[in-house]
């Protein structure tokens, strides 16, 4: 522990020295402030501030809408741009530091079609960030979606380099990485299981979300802990101008959101909730064997913020969601099987602005994820709880040194508690008593990181972003640590006391990217990142399930280490209304885990003896074309990639494709605004089937037919393709009330895409075996009514 603190001190000292180095004393003044939406008072994230007279100078607003630009004394035209909003030009004679808060109005798309902004919106070309995409919830709202539920996790799967886990699900893989390698943040709190209803919906209620940024590569130093991607989701702050109620009625779920100002716009809050009701329909009309099945979820989002002074603003955000799924063929058989799970997160933040150049955000974050497997019912119930709980403290500084350097630095300290499996048994359970002794001790760990990064404009054609993150992970007592012999039996065990360090890992994580600006329409970017990940998700099922267990690094389990190099060419056409890019990447992943054959991962205190370790690598090329304005908007993305794994003890030591090795992946999204009232949209997805292990023969043991496998993931599921279509009909729109109807059909031509394939005896002919494909969703129509007043 002492070591960490001294390390922290040294780093802070280093930051100070670097900071002083940048302070070159010229006669410069700073204009800074907050950018907001004129109508709702929501802050605008990533809005661009440019100085017409100084083409090199510019800034983007940060996650709290704060911007800061330093220029020599003089008279300038400052131009404020944000996509979908009218650009604001303002002339300012700057003789002293100036606080200038801006409100931008949404571009009216109702009558005058498409005002092509005179200002260049070519941030995708000139920024130092590559392999990243920001989706604004407003921008994606007309994309046809599964059951009419806008779902950001499904929308990002339409971007290059990102694929889903299986049909209709929200889980995702980025550039060949694992599903556990995505850092999913909701207002800075980690969300460990982002899915509802066995993965078919995401936990993120779009009504409460402002925007989403996914980083697939070139991950900035301020993020760490997951090696494949960062999905940074920001909640709406709530309308600070007036009380507003919005909601939606859908076939599967209904939503309601209330937002209002606090103390005359000094603050605001938003509360948003939704609940599904499919189970009610199933009970009433469903087939008999499903009537005892219950499946539902609900969730709430809450956020409030308050401006304490012109320099201080506090935010409180929270999320709570719960899922329940019970499958019970007949209540009388007492063989009920159920899973329920839920996330809860809370973030308390305090923004403070020191002068014009230094912005600080302090956060206290709590996150809790728990899942329960329930077997039996009533008295005979047997329950296993697994989960993870975090408390963390985070300090993030943004230092706008001058118009060439933006330095970000800070630290994060997180305390994890892991619940690998806690058993509770009711009296009459037959399976319970023998397993009661299998409750597994909780595990604890401390994860710390300090980072610094500099976004450096070297000259008119070169931008660099260099960063360094130092991360540490220490597992601490109380815990009993086992070591194992070759057979996986416990060889030795040692007990650790409260907070006694067990094992520490240190990660030195350099991050770098460079942008070579060819002209204002094109650039070449390259990036490298090295990231350590101290958690692994254990899942030995064919599909991802909510009972998958997060395990921390230990003496046996080593951190996942990811290295990625990426290079890309970016080119805009037609006055920046069409963005195109080609990116290539190569990624390696060390210390990947898999399982010994027949591994028992659930409620097993010696689970570490069931793991095998290997490596992975992935490479590919991504093509992306996006049309941002006009009657027709949308994008086409195509990815050609491979992802491999190699384990000494699996597949005879030969490399094999990972399940998510989707070679060809094409997505097309089109939104056509026929007139202000009517919008048509369509999505088409086509990709190679997942890699799968199928038998290449069979044999008999006793009277059981056994499949004979010759190689791991040597086969492919059938090709996946699907077309979704949607129509949005705008109802009457007044100052006080607006509404729309959304009709959509998921899988419009009824393609039977495989969810799974099982190999089983032919029920009609016991001398034969057959392959049976399970497909889940064909022609899922939906209708949603949305309103706002």
């Amino acid at each position: 522990m002492v070591d960490h603190f001294s390390l922290l001190k040294k780093t802070l000292l280093f930051l100070l020295i670097v900071g002083t180095f940048f302070l070159s004393g010229q006669n410069k003044f700073t204009i800074s402030g907050t950018l907001k939406d004129q109508k709702t008072g929501e802050v605008l994230i990533g809005a661009i501030v440019k100085v017409k007279e100084l083409p090199l100078v510019g800034a983007a607003s940060n996650a709290y809408g704060f911007y800061s630009v330093s220029v020599p004394e003089g008279k300038y035209t400052f131009s404020y741009t944000y996509i979908g909003y009218t650009t604001l030009d303002t002339s300012i004679d700057l003789h002293h530091n100036l606080k200038f808060n801006i409100e931008l109005g949404e571009t009216s798309t109702t009558l005058k079609e498409i005002v092509v902004s005179s200002e260049k919106a070519n941030n995708n070309i000139v920024s130092s960030q590559m392999s990243a995409q920001t989706l604004n919830v407003k921008e994606i709202k007309s994309i046809p979606v599964f059951f009419g539920e806008k779902d950001i996790l499904k929308t990002i799967q339409l971007l290059p380099g990102i694929t889903n886990v299986s049909d209709g699900t929200s889980g995702f893989y980025v550039r060949g990485g694992g599903a556990d390698q995505n850092l999913i943040l909701l207002d800075e709190a980690i969300v460990y299981n982002p899915t509802h209803l066995l993965g078919f919906f995401s936990v993120f209620n779009s009504d409460a979300i402002k925007d989403v940024t996914i980083f697939k590569g070139g991950i900035p130093a301020e993020y760490g802990g997951r090696i494949s991607s960062v999905l940074d989701i920001k909640m709406n702050d709530g309308n600070s101008k007036k009380l507003s109620v919005s909601g939606g009625l859908g076939l599967i779920a209904s939503r309601l959101t209330v937002e209002a100002p606090i103390n005359k716009g000094k603050g605001s809050f938003i509360i948003s909730g939704r609940r599904t009701y499919a189970d009610l329909f199933l009970k009433a009309f469903g087939p008999k064997n499903l009537r005892n099945t219950s499946l539902y979820f609900y969730d709430f989002n809450l956020k409030a913020n308050y401006q304490l002074s012109s320099k201080d603003r506090v935010f409180l955000s929270g999320y709570f969601g719960k899922d329940n799924f019970t499958f019970n063929n007949s209540a009388a058989s007492n063989r009920g099987f159920g899973i329920n799970w839920g996330n809860a997160t809370g973030t308390l933040r305090w923004n403070h602005i020191f002068g014009e150049k230094l912005f600080l955000n302090s956060s206290l974050i709590f996150t809790n994820y728990q899942s329960n497997i329930v077997l039996g019912a009533g008295d005979a119930q047997f329950k296993v709880t697994t989960g993870i709980q975090d408390f963390s403290l985070k300090e993030d500084f943004n230092y706008y040194v001058n118009n060439r350097h933006v330095v970000k630095f800070g630290f994060q300290s997180m305390y994890h508690t892991f619940i690998p499996g806690e058993v509770t048994v009711n009296t009459a359970s037959s399976i319970g008593p023998t397993r009661l002794g299998r409750t597994i001790e909780r595990k604890h760990a401390l994860e710390n990181a300090v980072y610094i990064s500099d976004d450096y404009t070297v000259c008119s054609w070169l931008k660099l972003a260099v960063g360094f993150r130092l991360s540490t992970f220490t597992s601490v007592g109380p815990n009993t640590v086992y070591s194992y012999d070759a057979n996986g039996n416990i060889a030795d065990s040692s007990k650790y006391k409260n907070n006694q360090p067990i094992k520490t890992y240190i990660g030195y994580e350099p991050r770098a990217s460079a942008t070579f600006i060819i002209n204002d329409k094109s650039s070449i970017k390259a990036s490298y990142n090295h990231i350590n990940q101290y958690l692994h998700l254990l899942s030995n099922a064919t599909t991802s399930t909510p009972v998958d267990i997060w395990v921390p690094c230990s003496q046996i389990v080593k951190p996942q280490i990811g290295d990625q190099e990426a290079i890309g060419y970016f080119r805009n056409f037609r006055n920046n209304s069409i963005e195109t890019s080609v990116e290539g990447f190569y990624k390696t992943m060390q210390n990947q885990i898999d399982y010994v054959n027949g591994a028992d991962l659930r409620f097993n205190k010696t689970v570490e003896s069931q793991l095998v370790f290997g490596k992975g690598w992935a490479y590919g090329v991504e093509f992306f074309i996006k049309k941002k304005t006009g009657k027709l908007t949308g994008w086409v993305s195509y990815t050609l990639s491979r992802t491999w794994r190699q384990f000494d003890s699996l597949n005879y030591g030969n490399k094999f494709p990972a399940k998510q090795d989707i070679i060809n992946n094409l997505s097309i999204v089109g939104i056509y605004k026929l007139n202000p009232k009517l919008t048509f949209s369509a999505t088409f997805v086509y990709h190679t089937g997942f890699a799968a292990t199928f038998p290449s023969g069979k044999y008999q043991i006793g009277n059981q037919v056994v499949n004979y496998y010759t190689e791991r993931n040597g086969y492919r599921m059938p090709t996946y393709h699907r077309l979704d279509i949607g129509v949005t009909l705008q109802g009457r729109k007044t100052e006080k009330f607006e509404s729309d109807w959304n009709f959509s059909v998921y899988n419009a031509y009824g393609r039977q895409n495989p969810y799974s394939i099982s190999f089983q005896p032919d029920p009609n002919d016991p001398t034969k075996t057959q392959a049976v494909q399970l497909s889940l969703f064909r022609w899922v129509p939906s209708i949603t009514y949305n309103f706002k007043f």
Binding site: G286, P287, T545, S696, Q752
Partner: protein, 269 residues
Amino acid sequence: MRKSRYFILLIPAVIFSLYACEKVVTLDLKNADKQVVVQGNVTNMPGPYIVNLNYTIPYYSSNTFPVITGAQVNIYDDAGNSEALTETTQGVYKTASLIGTPGRKYTIQIVANGNTYSGISAMALPLPIDSFLIQPSIRNSIVTGYRVTCKFTDPVGVGNHYRVLITSNDTANLGQNNSRIVSDKLTDGKQLSVSFRTKLISTDTVKILLQCIDKSTYDFYNTLQGAVGNSSISQFLAALPANPTNNISNKGLGYFAAYAVTTNTKVIP
């Protein structure tokens, strides 16, 4: 209000499309080279002990598994005894004189079509059955079947493995799940209890077999499930498909098991 009527009409449509749809598909599966499958047992009961040798077949073939004839099969123990087995029926090899003895280690060696396969299994000591219980399962005051329980006490020291089976003259009502494997990894030295739910009826005979197996046999049965066909719904939680872990060398399939067995038979009152 017309809109709300459409809304209601759409509900059954949604439920219809919610149905998971299963269909039999014909996949282009490779036909792997035929591989040797061994099923061999040596027990503490009087012989003959039987070794079956078969070949694998393509997945879409009818379930007739070709036998391997003309193989040389030998079983050795670690006390210097050995015997060459005789092929009594095609593909079925039997011992004549070998006496299985608990505590000894057995080795099988098979030469078939010029390839040699071998396997080692140690015969554990037999264990008495403490109790054998047959209890009626009653629901709404009707006997719906019987629950068969076997209790035995694990000796102190980790590393004991068991396979408990039940057999009956009434195979139809015995049900599918009539064998279970148990390891003492987490319950060393305790009394263990294994129960089976059956739909057996009064006057049926039920026999319980407590096999003390070695780790390789335990691993084989423990991993067998990953290679046996699963119904689709259980795939939500099914293990990844893989060949069972076994003790036959040279990529041979199947198992060679030496085990000691204790039995008890009862007639359901």
